[in-house]
């Protein structure tokens, strides 16, 4: 699988409809990821669900999604638009159980996404789902293995930064058959309290932290994972410009996810990041991004 460029629309950002995904592609993304889809429709958490707290975003959308039966239709429609453009699509899925992951994967495979991304790292549903699978090497491997058993579509596993040793989890999912790793999901959960009402602002009280503030954590996670695995890494977390994207590549990322940056730069942010990356490469005399991958380790 080759991407026309290394930028990937991260899961949970704008991936709610086929035409919207196509629009992101038109704006320069090399690959798009759909919003996580689960076994059945979910309303998600009540508002407020997403806030800009000044140094990034905090969200607890709560895995709102139309359910896999509707999700598979959205993905099929998106594929119809993206396939002729040669643009791959990753379908993000979640479930409460290992078996549930396999069931959703089997259904979503009907829409023939280019990748299935396993969202085992959402930090906003722990009161319902318990500790995310991404927080335990054994759980993470079991989910990966169960999905590998039911589909031949390549699997991306999205990891959580909220662990003591992300490299350990990464190695575990690689051994279980993961074809790539996406890292990181949101940090935390965190909390923002309104000091006038004395109340947490998010209705869910806590939410995942993303955006510029978490980038150093994301870069360190990608760096640690690169040391531990051979499979490609999609580096995600606070990337907002060409410098940030190159930093991810130097930490070891093969592709770079863009999410919260859409809040600051709109859909044009993909083009801007690509242009800045190209300008840097020309200026510094680099001809191939592969030569920069992981250079921070050398």
């Amino acid at each position: 699988m080759r991407l026309r460029n290394p930028l990937v629309l991260a899961a949970g950002i704008l991936g709610t409809g086929a035409q919207l995904l196509a629009r992101v592609a038109e704006n320069g993304a090399g690959m798009v990821t759909t919003k996580s889809c689960g076994p059945s429709p979910r309303e998600g958490h009540p508002n407020p669900t997403v806030l800009d707290w000044g140094h990034g975003l905090i969200n607890a959308v709560g895995l709102a999604n139309p359910g896999v039966d509707e999700g598979v239709k959205i993905i099929a429609r998106a594929k119809e638009i993206l396939e002729p453009l040669g643009l791959p699509l990753a379908a993000s899925i979640f479930a409460e159980t290992v078996k549930g992951f396999a069931q959703v994967a089997r259904k979503i495979a009907d829409a023939q996404p280019d990748f299935i991304e396993l969202n085992i790292s959402c930090p906003n549903v722990s009161h319902e789902f318990g500790r995310p699978f991404a927080c335990d090497a054994g759980d993470a491997a079991r989910v990966t293995g169960a999905v590998k058993e039911v589909t031949s579509i390549p699997i991306i596993v999205k990891l959580s930064p909220n662990v003591t040793d992300i490299a350990l989890i990464a190695r575990s999912v690689e051994q279980a058959g993961a074809d790539a790793i996406a890292a990181i999901n949101t940090l935390g959960p965190g909390m923002i309290i309104d000091i006038y009402s004395g109340q947490p602002v998010l209705a869910n009280r806590v939410g995942g932290v993303s955006g510029p503030a978490i980038r150093p954590v994301a870069v360190r996670c990608v760096y640690d994972i690169y040391e531990a695995v051979e499979i490609p890494i999609i580096g995600i977390g606070g990337v907002g410009d060409g410098r940030d994207a190159l930093e991810m590549v130097m930490a070891g990322a093969t592709a770079v996810g863009v999410g919260s940056a859409v809040r600051y730069g709109g859909l044009e942010v993909f083009q801007t990041i690509l242009e800045e990356m190209r300008a840097f490469m020309v200026e510094e005399g680099h001809t191939n991004l592969n030569q920069l991958r992981g250079i921070a380790h050398r």
Binding site: Q19, N47, L51, D194, Q199
Partner: protein
């Protein structure tokens, strides 16, 4: 941009289910832009503005959240995130404003800003005379106001788009600015096409982030919160837009 607390300075009953909340503070906003209003432990929902200085919201009691807003008293607080989205922008000199139901609210703000426009007509539609509001406010902003009610209890009988259609046939306008229920906006769009004039339509959708990130409000690939809520309808491109 975290929600900013603002106190209510004044509350005016506008119609049977409609109250205007004038807040002690201002924003810099365009007509048609919106704010997310948060009440702790209740909910957060989008509302268009009636004025940005002082910040003024007109709220119809249509559900649990607006019912809670209607219980608030002068001196109570509500919390505001915004202004958000893209608003109206009057391009010509002969605008036709069409407001259906609570859609009249942002049009009042628009009219108050369009002071240099020579000839502006506002069609104000409501179900009954008890639901009507802002006729006087629009007239005070220099609009020629035509009132229309579905039950014929005030002004002309019928829908605001029926009156708009007649006006567009009788007179020349260089733009339609509409806000109201979906079926009304569809009709307004059709009228713009028929008469070959540009339109700006303010749409509604379920919103979460309000800043173009979560995708909750997307419709046919457009984000109501960031690309809208006011969408341009150009005579040339309107057809291709509907096909995309």
């Amino acid at each position: 941009m975290l929600p900013r607390p603002m106190r209510i300075a004044q509350i005016t009953q506008e119609a049977i289910r409609v109250k205007t909340f004038t807040l002690a503070g201002e924003l810099v906003a365009d007509p048609g832009q919106f704010v997310m209003v948060w009440l702790p432990r209740v909910d957060e929902k989008p509302f268009s503005l009636v004025s940005d200085d002082p910040l003024t919201l007109t709220v119809a009691k249509v559900g649990p959240f607006s019912a809670r807003l209607h219980e608030l008293k002068v001196g109570d607080r509500l919390w505001i995130r915004g202004p958000l989205g893209r608003g109206f922008n009057i391009a010509g000199q002969r605008p036709l404003l069409v407001g259906g139901g609570y859609g009249v609210a942002p049009l009042a703000f628009l009219a108050s800003r369009a002071t240099e426009v020579s000839h502006k007509v506002a069609v104000v539609g409501a179900a009954t005379k008890d639901d009507l509001f802002f006729e006087a406010r629009l007239a005070a902003s220099g609009c020629e106001v035509v009132v229309v009610t579905e039950d014929c209890s005030a002004g002309e009988g019928g829908l605001c788009t029926d009156v708009a259609e007649a006006l567009l046939t009788e007179q020349h306008f260089d733009g339609v600015y509409a806000c109201g229920p979906e079926a009304m906006l569809d009709k307004a769009e059709e009228l713009c096409r028929q008469h070959g004039i540009p339109g700006q339509l303010s749409k509604e959708a379920h919103m979460r982030c309000g800043m173009g990130v979560c995708g909750s409000c997307q419709r046919d690939g457009l984000l109501v919160c960031r690309d809208g809520p006011v969408f341009d309808l150009e005579p040339e491109t309107s057809q291709s837009a509907s096909q995309s």
